[in-house]
């Protein structure tokens, strides 16, 4: 039925098993994108064969940590277990993926928590900005909000969850990944259990990038703004996304109250050029939010309320500085070294290796090793960076702001730059 199993053997006593399904808020029906969050929260709360109590006790018996994460295009369920319990972990995971049980009273409980989460977003301005940027900039699946707004969450039922799962959890969209396990053992357990999934591959989720403007005056002493541009290509453009990763390390940035230290990015461009020189900037960070076929790349920041115009002006200036070749070789080498180090340090961790296998198999159909990615990073040149940022700046900007938005400039004045 198209389900795939990928493993990497290691010589460590810890193993990590994960199921990655290509279903997220982008695949949910337009007014019901909160089902993705519901499916995430109810992932380990009962299946057709196991009550929630039995599931949690079995997890404890094998020493498993259960995690679930829903994003716009993928759902990840993972168990971290000692290596000797991999077979049991695979069985539990396959059960949770293939036969979830959604009971209305559990859904009602979770809907209440979703509504509280929607309220809590107001306290997390950068999270709010990233959510709003996606909703505004895209038309199509990617514009469905991942954090469901309150009124939308109130209308979700167990039937919606079941319909979402039935329509989207098909064999071709499921990958079972394991780090630190023997391939034959995992396939032996998983093959029979995943056979029951219906056939079907991932549909193309249509989208259009439009850019746009969104302001939410939530008051306060600060203004928070996000300026992003489209990176056409997304993860599937491997060379482009490698350049975006290096760009992210190059620009860096962060909060002005950072204690600093090695690896914190204190020598990145945004720290040296902006945060060290402008005391009225509280936060200035480069971000890149990539999906399978597209992405938003830009800068998000916070400043004192009266300086909204200057904040957005600084963002444009920094992006243009890179586009016009302002990067020095020293900065580029530092960024490349930092990116390579980040790859190797992350691949030390079993859960991350498992996630890497799963997500790469879903996105690319194959897995490229860390060494190959490091080699790609080493090939990035200054010309690549300049060309990439110039291409970014040609797209329509996405300007989202919250806090005290009275001084944020008009959208057309930003679009003209």
């Amino acid at each position: 039925n198209g389900a795939r199993v990928g493993t990497e053997a290691t010589w460590a006593p810890q193993a990590s098993v994960g199921a990655f399904v290509e279903m997220g808020s982008a695949h949910a029906p337009a007014g019901k994108s909160g089902v993705a969050q519901l499916v995430e929260r109810l992932a380990f709360r009962g299946t057709a064969n196991r009550s929630p109590f039995r599931l949690s006790r079995e997890g404890e018996a094998i020493g498993a940590t259960l995690t679930a994460q829903a994003s716009r295009e993928q759902l990840a369920l993972a168990l971290d277990v000692p290596a000797s319990n991999v077979a049991d972990a695979v069985e539990i995971l396959a059960d949770c993926v293939a036969n979830p049980r959604y009971q209305q009273w559990m859904v009602d409980e979770e809907v209440q928590k979703l509504q509280e989460a929607a309220d809590a977003q107001a306290d997390n301005p950068h999270g709010l900005l990233m959510e709003a940027a996606n909703v505004v900039a895209y038309q199509g699946g990617l514009s469905h909000p991942l954090v469901a707004p309150k009124d939308q969450a109130a209308g979700l039922t167990a039937d919606d969850c079941e319909a979402f799962h039935r329509a989207n959890c098909t064999g071709g969209r499921v990958v079972l990944a394991a780090a630190g396990a023997d391939h034959q053992e995992v396939v032996g357990v998983a093959a029979e259990l995943l056979q029951g999934l219906p056939e079907g591959g991932a549909p193309k989720v249509p989208f259009t990038y439009l850019g746009g403007d969104h302001r939410q005056n939530t008051g306060g002493e600060l203004v928070h703004a996000l300026l992003g541009y489209e990176f056409a290509g997304g993860w599937r453009d491997v060379k482009g996304s490698v350049v975006m990763t290096v760009l992210q390390m190059l620009m860096g940035g962060g909060g002005s109250f950072s204690a600093g230290g090695p690896g914190k990015g204190m020598h990145s461009r945004l720290y040296r050029r902006v945060l060290n020189n402008c005391p009225w900037v509280t936060n200035f960070t480069a971000f890149s939010s990539l999906y399978n076929d597209t992405g938003i790349v830009g800068i998000v920041g916070s400043a004192d309320a009266a300086k909204g115009g200057d904040l957005v002006g600084l963002m444009s200036k920094e992006l243009e500085a890179v586009a016009s070749g302002g990067t020095t070789d020293e900065e580029l080498e530092r960024a490349k070294a930092s990116a390579v180090a980040s790859i190797w340090m992350n691949l030390e961790s079993k859960p991350i290796v498992c996630e890497d296998i799963g997500r790469q198999l879903l996105t690319y159909g194959k897995r490229t090793s860390g060494a190959d990615f490091a080699a790609e990073i080493a090939k990035v040149s200054k010309a690549d960076i300049t060309k990439a940022v110039t291409a970014l700046l040609k797209s329509t900007p996405t300007l989202v702001s919250c806090g005290d938005t009275s001084t944020v400039p008009r959208f057309d004045s930003v679009a003209k730059r």
Binding site: S51, F53, R54, R57, Q103, Q104, W105
Partner: protein
């Protein structure tokens, strides 16, 4: 009306002899109880008392709100008729469904969950006991 319990029928030779008698008597008894319930406009499951049985209280929390509201309205109507010594009208009696067991499956599920916990020696999630 539906039979509700697996019951004692069919466990031994004597039981098998008495089975058909029990079946007929059960049908007669259920019909009599239905007549009484229809007088007040109650369902059998409305008689389950959450104050007596904490599993029923939990089941009522799991039911959708409309079911709980309908149950409360039926109980209020029955209390009113009881106080006034009146009955439902004949047309209303014809519409009654006394053996629509809407709480019973949920209570059975809760009892199964409690059994599972008891087997492993865990306590229930709600620890209150009736003194």
């Amino acid at each position: 009306c539906r039979t509700r319990t697996g019951g004692m029928a069919g466990r031994g030779f004597l039981s098998k002899l008495v089975e058909p008698f029990y079946a007929r008597m059960a049908l007669w008894y259920q019909a009599e109880v239905a007549v009484e319930l229809k007088k007040f406009g109650l369902r059998y499951d409305d008689l389950l008392d959450p104050l007596q049985n904490l599993d029923v209280e939990e089941a009522l929390k799991r039911l959708p709100q409309e079911e709980v509201d309908l149950r409360n309205q039926r109980i209020k109507r029955a209390m009113d008729h009881s106080m006034k010594h009146t009955e439902l009208s004949a047309e209303m009696k014809a519409l009654q469904t006394p053996y629509d067991f809407y709480i019973d499956p949920v209570v059975k599920e809760i009892e199964a969950e409690n059994m599972e916990r008891a087997k492993l020696g865990t306590s229930k999630p709600y620890a209150r006991t009736i003194p």
